[in-house]
Each structure stands twice: as structure tokens, then as C-alpha cells.
């Protein structure tokens, strides 16, 4: 009986080794779609409050540093470009280059977060945060800043998660677990990073260019 069980156990193990790239990618895409709906809820809120308070949202936007927002956009886009290219590099067998490109993306992610931290602390220093006295009696601007903190904050958490996933990909590449033949982990990590990028593409005009 124990032999039978052991055999079955091995079979189960072999089964886990079974690789279905299409399936893995499908799973990742489904996860990304569900992420889209997560942010979708916030976009619905933003749209409704902006429709209610168009002027206040414009006034809120005027407190934003658009240059930092645009710069951060370019940083993220470059990161996306690098991680996309790293897949091509890996597929063509240039592991070192691929690792370098993933490393670049991680650095852009870190740079993005640093800019974000500067920006948030600037706003808080100026007195724009939920419940601050500058926003008392201005419900529209209050909502604008609340949504700003919630949406960019949640996006920031996704950037951090993306950095973690890309770092894992980098380690797996260094250990030879993610290779020219088995690159689906890198591909899925890249997909996640691109989603983070896309959300930012929409956050830019909603907050930084809202004036």
C-alpha cells in the first residue's frame, strides 16, 4: 500500500512540474483583469465626484506638481520598455542583458517611489491631507485629495509588489530557474509591471493634469 501511495506521490510531484505556459499566462491575465476592476471601482468614484465638483477638482489639481507627475510617467514607461525588452533578450539567449534590463526596471520602480515619497511629504508639509485645516469647508478639494492619496497610494503598493515580483524573477534568472526555454515567470512578472504602468497612465491626467 505504501508503495502505491509513494508512486502516486511521485506522480503528483511530476504533475506539479507539468508546464502549461498558455495556462499560466491566462491565469495572470485573469488576475490583471481583476486588478482592473479593483481600480475600476476607484475610477467610478473619481468620475462621480468630479462630475459633482468640477471646479474643486480643478482647484485641487492646481496644487499638484505636474512636472513631477510627468517625470514619473516617463520613468515608469522606460521601466516598462526595459522589462519588455528583457523578455526578447532572454528568448534570444542573452541572459546577462535580460538580467540587466530587469535590474533597470527595478531601479525605475525605486526611483518612482522616491519621487512619490517626495511628492507626498511635500503635500503633507503644505497642509494638504485628509482632515487638514486647509481643506476644512472645501468638500470638493477634500475629496480630490482623499482620492489622490487613496489612488496613488494603492498604485504605490502595486509598484512595491511589482518590484518584489521582478526581484524574484531576477533571482530565478540568476539561479537558472528562469531560462530561454522557461521564461513564463518573467513574462508574467512583466505583465504585472505593465499593468502598474497602465494605471499610472490614467492617474496622470486625473490628478496631475486636472488643473
Amino acid at each position: 500500500m505504501s508503495d502505491v501511495a509513494a508512486e502516486a506521490g511521485r506522480a503528483e510531484h511530476a504533475h506539479e512540474e507539468h508546464r502549461d505556459y498558455e495556462g499560466a499566462k491566462l491565469g495572470m491575465w485573469l488576475f490583471l483583469l481583476s486588478e482592473c476592476m479593483l481600480f475600476g471601482g476607484l475610477f467610478v468614484l473619481y468620475a462621480m465626484y468630479r462630475a459633482d465638483h468640477p471646479r474643486a477638482f480643478s482647484a485641487g489639481g492646481s496644487h499638484m506638481d505636474a512636472i513631477l507627475g510627468v517625470a514619473n510617467t516617463l520613468v515608469l514607461l522606460t521601466g516598462s520598455f526595459a522589462v519588455a525588452s528583457s523578455i526578447t533578450a532572454l528568448q534570444r539567449g542573452r541572459r546577462k542583458l535580460a538580467m540587466g534590463l530587469v535590474g533597470t526596471t527595478i531601479l525605475t520602480g525605486v526611483a518612482f517611489m522616491i519621487v512619490k515619497a517626495v511628492e507626498w511629504s511635500g503635500h503633507i508639509r503644505q497642509g494638504y491631507f485628509p482632515h487638514s485645516h486647509l481643506l476644512q469647508g472645501k468638500p470638493g478639494e477634500q475629496l480630490f485629495f482623499s482620492l489622490y492619496y487613496v489612488m496613488t497610494g494603492l498604485h504605490g503598493l502595486h509598484v512595491i509588489a511589482g518590484i518584489a515580483v521582478l526581484t524574484a524573477a531576477l533571482i530565478l534568472m540568476a539561479r537558472g530557474k528562469v531560462t530561454q526555454e522557461h521564461f513564463v515567470f518573467l513574462e508574467n512578472a512583466a505583465l504585472y509591471w505593465h499593468l502598474v504602468d497602465i494605471i499610472w497612465i490614467f492617474l496622470l491626467p486625473l490628478f496631475y493634469l486636472a488643473a
Binding site: 500500500m1 502505491v4 501511495a5 508512486e7 502516486a8 506521490g9 506522480a11 503528483e12 504533475h15 506539479e16 502549461d20 498558455e22 495556462g23 491566462l26 491565469g27 485573469l30 488576475f31 483583469l33 481583476s34 486588478e35 476592476m37 479593483l38 481600480f39 475600476g40 471601482g41 476607484l42 467610478v44 468614484l45 462621480m48 465626484y49 459633482d52 465638483h53 485628509p130 482632515h131 468638500p139 470638493g140 477634500q142 475629496l143 482623499s146 482620492l147 492619496y149 487613496v150 494603492l154
Partner: protein
Amino acid sequence: MTTSEAPPRAGAASYLEDHGRFSGIFGWIFSTDHKRIGILYLVSTLFFFFVGMSLGFLMRLQMLSPHGELFKNADYYNALFTLHGVIMIFLFIIPAVPGSLGNFFMPIMIGAKDVAFPRLNLLSWWLYVTGAVIALASLFGSGLPDTGWTFYAPYSLRTHADIPMAVFGVFVLGFSSILTGINFITTMHRMRAPGMGWFKMPLFPWALYATSWVQVLATPVLGITMLLIFVERIFHVGIFNPAMGGDPLLYQHLFWMYSHPAVYIMILPAMGLISEMIPTFAHRTIFGYGAIVWSSMGIALLGSLVWAHHMFTSGLSDAAATVFSLLTFLVAVPSAIKVFNWTATLYKGSIALEPPMLYALSFIFLFSVGGLTGLILGALALNVMLHDTYFVVAHFHYVIFGGAAFAFFGALHYWLPKMFGRMYNRSAAYIGWALLFTGFNLLYFTMFVLGVMGMPRRYAFYLPRFQTPQVIATVGSWIMIAGILVVFTNLIVSVFKGEKAGDNPWGGVTLEWQIPSPPPTENFLEPPTIPEKAYDFEGAFAS
């Protein structure tokens, strides 16, 4: 799980014996086998069902007298209905059918060895347990949770209860649900056995497919709503707080964008179970296979567009109320189609009134009552009268308990022989069903009457004129609970001590009946024979 005396079959041990890498309890809670995970879900969701049922029992006791039979302080009653709702919805009925029966049978029914992501599957269960623990930990916070399961703002922003903990628990539970959905969709796209075309798939997997889409696309909206309440409570951002310019109705919009489709997460898999049981016990193919498939997808899609019918009296715009009422009547059409198809499946069948079939037929009746009273609530003029009364409570319980849970209980009788290789006591099953069915109708039909009389829900105390029906409903709850106890004592005893069941006790034709009971770890010892058509009874009996 004492199946050790079963003669070992050639090839592989049953999943009950093969504990994988770990032994004892760890062989279960760390197993990535979809069948073992299914059993984990079965045990844990049923545990919470019994917790929720006990809370419901106490609520009914309180309602025995107008001034409260149990508590003179409404706080305790408010905690009871909040916990009853949260537990029954998030910890029982949403995960129960997909998590237990879906995990166990969907891969087998499409001829797969396992789900697409077995480790993710285990993670889903662990997240479920984590979410449950977090949600229940809120009980020991600053006060008993008292918001109702809906966490409506701004009340949830002001109450002393530990709301951040509770909503974080719900968020984690939602995450578990999303991962199950992703896993199931991928499994059905990638893991069907060769020859198992989409339109040969049995209807339970089809129902799970539709459900999974709702889980993947609607649950994140609940996630963000709960996160916003969490952020609101901790940082006071004011997004839903009217005192700071926020709009509490937008909370309701976001909440129901998930929570209405969630009703379809609860009922669609149950409809799939009915579509399995009726052909098996009528020994004939399902009537209108295509119609049932498309109505499942139609319900999933239309069901996502009717959320604001929970808000007709909230100050919704007249235009929105009109559109949502219209859409609500349209979503009734695919459900009606299913009911007609099931009834037509009985025509010229050869019907065995086994206990699972009895549950399936009572599902049709109870679900029809629930669905038709839904039409009454969907009509704008009547909704104004009946919203937030016992009528809504009764309607909901007819759909979710009379519908989803009856189908679940029926399917437990249907598949128990397959899952554990043992048969239950039939007489006990009939007695349990009869008590359950009688008590259920006495309890909830009386609530329709109370609703029309104007009894509002969530009242710890009530006006004396409502007392007689309240007492009748409470008596009904006692009969119903007696029935549930009989049903589950019978099922649990038979898991350990029941007579041996054959591989195919009912003469079913879906793939799970081709393999041994209980199934071996690998599911299929040889590649399964895929029938020409789904539910091909003539073909099966000809050979």
C-alpha cells in the same frame, strides 16, 4: 476516513488513503490535491454553516416576544444579525459550492487530473481560513460588530465596533474567492480531456465557469469598497462621509456592484448541481442543454447590471431607478428558462425519487417562490412598500437557502457515495428532508406575510401586532433545525459507517461515475471515455 479494508485497486490508492508528502492532519491542510482541498472546504464551510445557524436560532428566539425574549439590549441582537449575515454569506454560501463540490468534481467532470494551479488552490483555502479568523477576531475588538453584513456608510464609520478588522477579513475572503475563480477558468480552458469539447461539458462545470467570471470581475469591487471603509476608519479620508462631502449612496453603489452579482455566485453553481441531479434521476438527457448553458452566461452578465435595485428608496435618480427596474425584470428571463428546462427534463424520463432528487425538485419549487417574489420586489411601486421589511428577508432566504443551500444539501446526498464510497441511510434522509422542507416554509413563508404587514427588518423589538406570525416563524425554525440535524447526523455517520456504495449507484453518465468510489489520487487510471454528447443516456444504455 476508514477505507483501509477496501480492496486495493490496481494503479493508485484512493485520495483518502494517499496523504501525499505529509501525514495526519498535515496530509490534508498541506495537500494540493483538488479532492482533498474540496473536503477541506466542505468541512470548514459546514462548520461555519452550523455557527451561522445557531446565531439564526438565537435571533428567532429573541423574536418570540415583542420586547425581546432573550435580550433587553438591542446590541446583542444587532451583533447576532450582523454575524449571521457575514458568516452565512462570506464564510458559507459563497465558498461552499465552488470550494467544496466545485473543487472536488469540476476537474473530474471535464476529465482533468487536477485544477490548473494546485498550489494556488491550496492558497485559496488558506486565505479563506485567514480571512475567517481575521473577520471573527473583530468580535474581540472595541465592541460587538453591529452594522449588518452590508457595512453601510456612514453608520459603519461611526459605530464603536472593530470595523477595520471585520472589513479587512472580508477583503481577504474576497481575495480567496478571486483566486478560486481564476483557477477554475484556467482549468476549464486548458485542462479539458481530449475530446471534451466546450459543448460536451456537463452543466455543473458550465455553471462554475459563469460563476468564476463573476468572482473574478465583481469581487475586486467589493475589495476596494472594503479597503475604502478600512482607510476611512483609520485616516478619516471622508470619501463616504457626508460630513466631509462624501456620498454615502456611492458606497451603496460600489457595495451592490459586488454584492448583487454575489447572489449569482451563490445561486449559479447551485443551478449547475440541479442540472446534474435531474438528468441522473430521470435517466434521460437534459432538455435544452444549450439554453441552460447560455442562460448561465446570461445570468452572469445581466446579473452584474442590476445592482441598484437594492437602492430604490435611497434617493436614487428616477431615471436610474427605471432602468434598474427594467434590467431586473430582464434578468428574471434566463432564470425562468432554466426552471422550464428542468421541468421539461422530467417529461418521459424514468424518475427515481431518491433523496437527492427530492432536494432538486424542492429546489425548483423554492427557487421559483424566491424568484417570483423577486419580481414583486423589482416592481418599483411595490418595492417602496416592501423594501427593508421581512419580505426582503424571506425572498432572500428562499433564493439562497431554499435555492443554493437545498441544492448543496441535495448534491451532498448525490455525491457522498462518490466522495467517500459509502451510502447514507435512505429513511433518515427522507425524514430529514421532510422536516427541513416543512420547517423552512413555515419559517420563511410567514416572513412574507410579516413583510406585507409592514414589519421592518433588523428590529430587536417589534410592535405587538406582529407577534403571532413571529411566533409561527420561530416554531418553523425549530422544525427546520431539527431537520438539518437529522440530515447531517445521517451524512456524517454514513461517511464513517455507511454501507459500501458502488462506483455508480445512480446510473449517472458524467465522467465522475466512470471512476472508482472514492476516486484515486490521479482521478483517471485510464483515459476517460468521453460520451458523444453531454448526458447521453441512450448511448450509455445502448452500450
